[in-house]
């Protein structure tokens, strides 16, 4: 009996502190920054802190603009940053290794025309078709003001 109880406690502790992304409930949840309901499966983004707290955004530009305003200590406590892969709607990919495209021909929810791709090849392919400029995570920070 005692060991069951211990196991239960352990499993509770484990679930409480998991640092992982949570699926976005599209059409129900609102963006943490701009309050818009998240519906776009190609542009949503998510930030998870070291304590497992999840912040959801309807657009990559919202995520960048929000976290930029955070206190330094909070900002350093970010564990995961993910974005939707434009070419695989609803699938998250690591924001820091993704390739970004700003193209007037692809609208994003908050008007930055910004989309992210897990594969650089795919991003180039879409750039070829839709024109625009490619960015890395670091160069994007300077671009989005």
């Amino acid at each position: 009996m005692k060991q069951y109880f211990a196991m239960l406690l352990l499993s509770l502790a484990a679930t409480a502190c998991t640092v992982s992304t949570k699926p976005i409930n599209y059409g129900q949840e609102a963006c943490h920054f701009c309050s818009m309901t998240i519906v776009d499966r190609q542009h949503a983004a998510e930030v998870v802190t070291n304590k497992g707290k999840v912040f959801k955004y309807d657009a990559i530009e919202c995520m960048i603009n929000d976290t930029r305003k955070w206190e330094k200590s909070d900002y350093e406590n970010i564990a995961l940053v993910v974005i939707n892969d434009y070419s695989n709607p609803g699938k998250f990919t690591d924001a820091k290794t993704a390739t970004y495209l700003i193209s007037e021909q692809i609208k994003s929810p908050m008007g930055a025309f910004l989309s992210g791709f897990s594969s650089a090849n795919e991003a180039q392919k879409v750039q070829h078709e839709k024109t625009g400029d490619l960015f890395t995570w670091d160069s994007l920070q300077e671009k989005i003001q």
Partner: protein, 422 residues
């Protein structure tokens, strides 16, 4: 000898002169009417559009027309007789590009394909000025009417619907982007993502529309200035109307009804400046008006009835002035998340006002405090909502009313009305 002024004075001669000159000019323009029907030649719209000269009219008779990649690049009038059906067989719809003064009236357009990379619309207008889209029925669409980079358009009396429920593979009913001087009137929009979406649209009017059962918003403004919307109904959408990052928006006589859900609202104001909100009705919404970071807004003669929160104010909101509104039977009249107040409440009617009027001048003798202490607690810990209407909360609110500690002490209506404002 007749002087020109005398000619104009005689109505008969003036009319004759006008008719003759009109007839003369008409014969120079030589606008033809091309009839399209199943047994005519041409029997498809594609042929007819190719055949037509700028200025011609295509008269499309009743029937089913299966069309693909239909594009208009010249000034044409398309009239449907007895609602001919244009079936785009789950591909891209009708495109109008770089053509002025196009009229599309009296069609039933259906079956538009879904794309993740392209905004397929039943009617897609690009760089088209002075257009008129009237009396059409659009069903099973991705986007309904999509307008880009155009000026002076009229979208009147159309019915747009799709079947978006929990799905997000839906576009918007009437989506206007980077345009100005648009008039959107008498349309019915349902089961889409956003009923009507204005993105970078200026100097435009939205009136007498009904937007209902849309997944996200009934009406959505982003980065749009100097627009007016009046006499519209927004019923049972994911949320009613979101007005965001816009200036000088005039909102009059609209009805916001039954927008229920955890984060739902009748009207969301986010980063709005210099707006007028007059004579609207907010009824049975989770939040009537949700205000974030908005400044210099006048709320006058609105009815806020049976909402969870009538007005919820968050973030830095300055110079929001509430005058002569009716707050009737709301769970919370006003909710605040800060102790600072730069907003004014004046001459409103509050159904939960318990004061008296001894001098019988119609104005309550003691001020009304619309913010309850409990609303602060609910803001901090949403789960406490289960305590609503308990004796404990009543005592808590009463003690705060007697000696305000947590709520901004200047947040009062000093002249609460004893009777509802007509």
């Amino acid at each position: 000898m007749l002087q020109p002024t005398n000619i104009m004075k005689n109505p008969f001669i003036a009319l004759l002169a006008f008719t003759v000159s009109f007839w003369l000019s008409a014969s120079y323009i030589k606008a033809n009417v091309i009839t399209v029907c199943g047994s005519c030649q041409p029997n498809t719209l594609k042929q007819a559009i190719q055949l037509a000269q700028p200025g011609d009219t295509l008269l499309v008779q009743q029937g089913l027309y299966q069309e693909t990649s239909l594009e208009i690049t010249k000034r044409l009038v398309l009239l449907g007789q007895n609602k001919p059906v244009l079936d785009f067989m789950n591909k891209e719809g009708l495109r109008i590009t770089n053509a002025d003064s196009v009229v599309i009236s009296g069609f039933h357009i259906k079956n538009i394909g879904i794309s993740y990379t392209k905004d397929f619309a039943a009617i897609h207008l690009f760089k088209t000025n002075y257009f008129r889209i009237e009396n059409n029925v659009l069903t099973n669409v991705f986007f309904g009417i999509l307008v880009e980079k155009s000026h002076y358009g009229l979208i009147n009396n159309n019915r747009v619907s799709s079947h978006a429920t929990e799905e997000f593979n839906s576009g918007n009913g009437i989506h206007i982007w980077h345009s100005d001087n648009m008039t959107v009137t008498n349309n019915h929009v349902s089961h889409l993502r956003d009923g009507i979406y204005f993105e970078f649209v200026n100097e435009s009017i939205i009136a007498n529309n009904v937007s209902t059962q849309n997944v996200r918003y009934g009406l959505h403004f982003m980065f749009s200035n100097h627009d007016t919307y009046h006499d519209n109904e927004f019923i049972n959408n994911g949320a009613g109307v979101a007005v965001m990052f816009s200036k000088f928006i005039n909102m009059r006589s609209n009805r916001f009804y039954k927008n229920w859900g955890t984060a739902s609202f009748g009207l969301l104001l986010k980063e709005i400046y210099d707006a007028e909100i007059v004579a609207n009705t907010f009824e049975e919404n989770t939040i009537g008006i949700n205000i974030e970071n908005s400044t210099r807004i006048n709320y006058t003669q609105n009815n806020l009835v049976r909402n969870g929160w009538a007005v919820k104010i968050a973030g830095g909101c300055y110079t929001n002035i509430f005058t002569k509104n009716n707050f009737i039977s709301n769970s919370f009249d006003v909710s605040y998340n800060s102790k600072m107040n730069d907003n004014k409440f004046d001459q409103n009617y509050w159904s939960s006002y318990t004061g008296y009027d001894l001098d019988k001048d119609g104005i309550g003798d003691v001020p009304y405090r619309p913010v309850k202490l409990f609303s602060y607690i609910v803001n901090q810990t949403p789960e406490t909502i289960v305590l609503l209407r308990s004796l404990f909360i009543d005592i808590l609110n009463f003690s705060e009313k007697v000696s305000p500690v947590f709520t901004p002490d200047n947040l009062v209506d000093a002249t609460p009305q004893m009777k509802t404002i007509p």
